[in-house]
């Protein structure tokens, strides 16, 4: 199970609080919009990722659980 961040680009209004709370995975571009590092979120960062998702005033950030298939 990998945990990833996903942005709803229509809802996002570049508040940038997510980047403040999860700098390990989120930086902002020239216009304040988040650049998401798509590496999976390790368990030790999950609580911070959840905080970043909760603080977004427009609910533009979401945590996605993707089942990884072992082949």
């Amino acid at each position: 199970m990998t945990v990833r961040l996903r942005v709803n680009w229509i809802a996002c209004q570049a508040h940038g609080m997510c980047a403040e709370l999860l700098p390990e995975r989120i930086t902002v571009d020239d216009w304040g919009y988040p650049i998401i590092d798509q590496r999976p979120i390790p368990p030790e960062l999950e609580a911070h990722a959840r905080r970043a998702v909760d603080v977004c005033p427009t609910f533009a950030l979401a945590l996605e659980r993707v089942r990884t298939h072992q082949r």
Partner: protein
């Protein structure tokens, strides 16, 4: 007269508490409005990132509600005037200064709406939450009028200074908020600026003939059984 005096054995502690908590609530609500504007304007400093401004806004608002609850409880418990708890939610139905007390209920109802929608905002959806949140701009001036109309300390200089200070601060915050998107949607913005200025100016002009004028207690609807003759009166 003496019978009315006998019903209270000196000023009750609840009376002091309700005045104090009401005043603190006003200050906290002012702080909440200011922080709310800073929040939406994405204000930050290196020591105070945006998530901190956002967090303090939420906390200050919750604290304001706590003080409001104390204010409501203690005013109901104060035996001087009969103010049932329901008067805090249903406006204009009470016996004591119905209009001015009722404004407090209206303001509190709006605060409740804002608080409840904020707790369930994810389920509610962004637009409904945002729209309800704007009611804060109505709740604050109504709260101020309630305080000036029912407040026992309204004639005191320190109280007028607090109210005046809060009014100026909120006026500035509203103006900053309205001007930040200028000249987008210029007509509603101009109307908002004008409305805020008219409210501030109007309130100031009203004070001398209103709460600061003669016989305000009677004029504002204090039940006659609670009114005392002009000599030796207790404020309220």
């Amino acid at each position: 007269m003496t019978l009315a005096l006998a019903s209270t054995v000196g000023p009750s502690a609840y009376w002091y508490l309700t005045r104090a908590s009401g005043t603190v609530a006003l200050i906290l609500l002012t702080l909440s409005v200011v922080l709310g504007v800073l929040d939406v304007e994405q204000y930050s400093t290196p020591r105070m990132p945006r998530f901190v401004v956002d967090g303090v806004h939420r906390t200050a608002s919750l604290l304001a509600v706590v003080f409001l609850l104390v204010h409501i409880l203690t005013s109901a418990l104060d035996s001087f005037a009969s103010i049932p708890l329901i008067d805090a939610i249903v406006p204009f139905a009470g016996a004591y200064r119905p209009l001015w007390l009722g404004l407090g209920a209206v303001s509190f109802d709006l605060v409740l709406a804002i608080m409840i929608t904020s707790f369930v905002r994810r389920r509610l959806g962004y637009r409904a939450w945002r729209f309800t949140h704007w009611l804060a701009y109505a709740s604050w001036p109504i709260a101020l009028l309630h305080g000036l109309g029912t407040g026992s300390d309204v004639k005191a200089t320190w109280m007028l200074a607090i109210c005046g200070g809060c009014l100026i601060v909120v006026l500035l915050a509203v103006w900053i908020r309205v001007l930040s998107g200028w000249p987008d949607r210029i007509r509603p913005r101009s109307a908002a600026l004008a409305l805020a200025a008219v409210f501030a100016g109007g309130t100031a002009l009203w004070l001398p003939s209103g709460p600061l004028g003669a016989h305000w207690a009677r004029r504002s609807g204090t039940p006659s059984s609670l009114l005392r003759p002009s000599a030796g009166r207790r404020p309220g």
